[in-house]
């Protein structure tokens, strides 16, 4: 999960990593303190990037100015549902650089670029990339840039924070190189959700304000330990065709085929592994609850070990209850496929649903073409 800047800065402070002084967070206009020492830097709390360029960061000299910044930023960034604003003291002058730790395909990596504060992809200067040994949790070489900016102690502290907190990304941009210390002016922290079991005590503001109602329900189901098995994904899109897909690779093929065939997906949803029937039922209910859909495609490859009877039983239960009146096409194979098909087709007969179960001899692309014809 992404961490809001004011909370990320508090985590850094726990590791004696310098951030600007007098950090305050105001969740509403009424919360704004009248006792701030001006000037301050004010920032709108959103999770997407390029905030500065869009007027989300400003130097403020009075209470009145801060209140009007709050109003302006709330309006400009309304679609991103800001959490509030933060204020902090201006840092002493100095050179700004880019500093991050993340993972690439082989392991953790430290990246330093001497042009800080800007989009790193747009930087004309080459980045220094130093692999980190995940076992010793130390950088594998000491490039000149580290001694030049006196970053050895700073790097050690950031590495400790990165690994102890199980970060997936810790990006400090800009990092202000001051006279005697480096100060993190802005921080983007993404925590590794998979390591959540090591941080159960952690209490951070949930960063799901931008999810749709249905996406929120899915997120809650995935984090509920009563729903066992692999997580299900649900992303809402603008289109009018409902999808319930299985398998990462198969879902891509199906998406390609539908989009190329002119269909407009109303969602992207996918499950793999062996989710329980209760979880698949919950996912199906979320998909079926989206209004104005023209049809439903339930499709995936020929599974190796996902139990088709178990997953289809979950789907059938939701279909029997909601009774959608649009065409439904299913293309799925794998363990206990015959029982799965029977469960679905019995449900179709009993509730008079328009369901076609295609044989696995039809390729995924052919199944998509069949589905698109059915929608006409």
């Amino acid at each position: 999960m992404k961490v809001y800047e004011f909370e990320a800065k508090k985590i850094l402070a726990d590791y004696q990593i310098d951030t600007p002084a007098q950090l305050n967070f105001f969740a509403s206009k009424d919360d704004i303190s009248k006792n701030l020492e001006y000037p301050v830097i004010a920032k709108v709390l959103i999770l997407s990037g390029k905030r500065g360029k869009r007027g989300g960061v400003k130097e403020i000299n009075s209470f009145e100015e801060l209140v009007s910044f709050y109003d302006e930023a709330s309006a400009v960034f309304a679609s991103e549902k800001p959490l509030g604003i933060l204020t902090e003291k201006m840092a002493p002058a100095g050179e700004d650089i880019y500093f991050s730790i993340s993972y690439n395909k082989t392991g953790p990596i430290l990246v330093i670029n001497q042009s800080g504060g800007v989009d790193i992809e747009a930087s004309k200067l080459a980045s220094v990339k130093i692999p980190i040994d995940p076992l010793t949790k130390k950088i594998t070489s000491k490039p000149a840039v580290i001694s030049r900016f006196k970053l050895k102690g700073f790097t050690d502290k950031v590495l400790k924070c990165f690994f102890e907190q199980d970060c997936e990304l810790l990006e400090i941009n800009p990092l202000r190189i001051g006279q005697d210390r480096a100060i993190c002016l802005d921080v983007k922290m993404i925590l590794d959700d998979r390591a959540g079991f090591r941080h159960r005590e952690r209490q951070l503001t949930k960063t799901n304000k931008n999810l749709t109602e249905r996406e929120l329900v899915m997120a809650e189901i995935n984090s509920n330990p009563d729903f066992k098995g692999s997580p299900c994904r649900y992303v809402e899109l603008d289109g009018d065709v409902a999808l319930l897909l299985s398998g990462g690779g198969a879902s891509l093929i199906i998406f390609d085929a539908l989009v190329n065939g002119g269909a407009k997906p109303g969602n992207y949803s996918e499950y793999s592994g062996n989710p329980t029937k209760e979880k698949v039922e919950a996912l199906t209910r979320i998909i079926l609850s989206k209004p104005n859909q023209k049809g439903l495609l339930i499709a995936g490859g020929i599974a190796n070990f996902t139990l088709i009877d178990e997953t289809m039983a979950g789907i059938a239960k939701a279909l029997a209850d909601v009774k959608p009146n649009y065409p439904i096409v299913i293309r799925r194979g794998g363990p206990n496929e015959k029982i799965g098909k029977k469960i679905i087709m019995d449900t179709a007969v009993k509730h008079n649903l328009d369901i076609t179960w295609l044989s696995s001899d039809k390729s995924l692309k052919e199944a998509c073409q069949y589905f698109i014809e059915k929608l006409k």
Partner: protein, 299 residues
């Protein structure tokens, strides 16, 4: 083990008494795999489908002798210590099915395996299967004996479902199979497509290699680099899937875990060009494997 699953290779199963571990033993045994031992701490002395269970790998090896590979079915928090135990036992091959292992632990496992010369298939891999010789993991589904005919085409994929799907499709068109490898698709992985191609290049009975590859947030730089250095000793055909990525909102995970939407189309096209110029055949969809294979002079 990646070049072929050798007949009678001895397999030890970690996490053998859990739901997936027990099913895996059933799947492997029904395809003739020689599963010699299972390990679950605290469950020593039990049996799963006739396979003896031990409390530790050390204890197991003391009883059954050396094994060729370990197939692991333990939950994410236990994976790193499980892999360490395999490495300490000097077993040359690890297959890990588990998904959702913390990145920090994954990076440590990959490094440990590399430092100790242990081949690491996974995480999130359904395994390897060589037709008529056996399999490690679930790859090939319930009844590969019925579903697949032997032949000369080997399949590599980062998608488990698609490994099986491609196998079915080729089979439907009368194309026989040799070995199927599912690499898994995590952001940090053990064996990659290049390593798998290298391994299959060593196998005399593999005459053609097909690769199912995804191009969502994968600019193919690694593969382009691999093919520009590697001389191929047999035809390689790659299908590239995921062109519809453009309609997804930014930052959404699409396809597999590592498939965050953020791609550089120019770089991708350049790399596809490099791959083609190395003599690799690229196709848009896995259905096109069939005509591409039939077009090869070696087929």
């Amino acid at each position: 083990m990646l070049s072929e699953f050798k007949t009678n290779a001895k397999i030890l199963v970690q996490g053998a008494t859990g739901r997936e571990g027990q099913r895996a033993i059933e799947f492997m045994k029904n395809y003739g795999t020689n599963v010699v031992a299972g390990v679950t701490p605290g469950k020593g002395g039990q049996e799963v489908l006739g396979v003896p269970i031990f409390n530790s790998i050390k204890e197991a090896l003391g009883k059954v002798g050396p094994v060729d590979a370990v197939s692991t079915y333990v939950p994410p928090p236990a994976c790193l210590s499980a892999i360490k135990e395999v490495i300490e036992s000097e077993i040359p091959f690890i297959h890990l099915i588990t998904d959702g292992v913390p990145y920090q632990d994954l990076a440590s496992m990959v490094k440990l395996c590399r430092d100790n010369n242990v081949q690491f298939l996974g995480p999130g891999s359904l395994g390897v299967l060589t037709i008529g010789q056996g399999r490690v993991g679930f790859l090939g589904g319930t009844d590969p004996k019925k579903d697949y005919q032997a032949g000369e085409v080997s399949i590599i994929s980062r998608s488990g479902g698609m490994t099986n799907e491609v196998a079915h499709y080729l089979n439907q068109y009368g194309i026989g199979l040799r070995t199927m490898i599912h690499l898994g698709s995590d952001k940090i992985s053990g064996a990659n497509v290049g390593e798998a191609i290298n391994a299959l290049s060593q196998d005399k009975q593999t005459k053609i290699i097909v690769v199912f590859e995804e191009i969502v947030n994968n600019d193919l730089s690694d593969l382009a680099e691999f093919f520009s250095k590697q001389k191929l000793n047999k035809p390689v055909i790659i299908s590239l899937t995921g062109i519809s990525r453009n309609i997804m909102p930014e930052g959404v995970s699409f396809g597999h875990v590592d498939a965050l939407l953020k791609g550089d189309s120019n770089l991708l096209n350049k790399n596809i060009g490099r791959i083609k110029s190395a003599g690799v055949v690229t196709v848009d969809s896995y259905e096109d494997f069939v005509p591409a294979i039939k077009n090869l002079s070696t087929y």
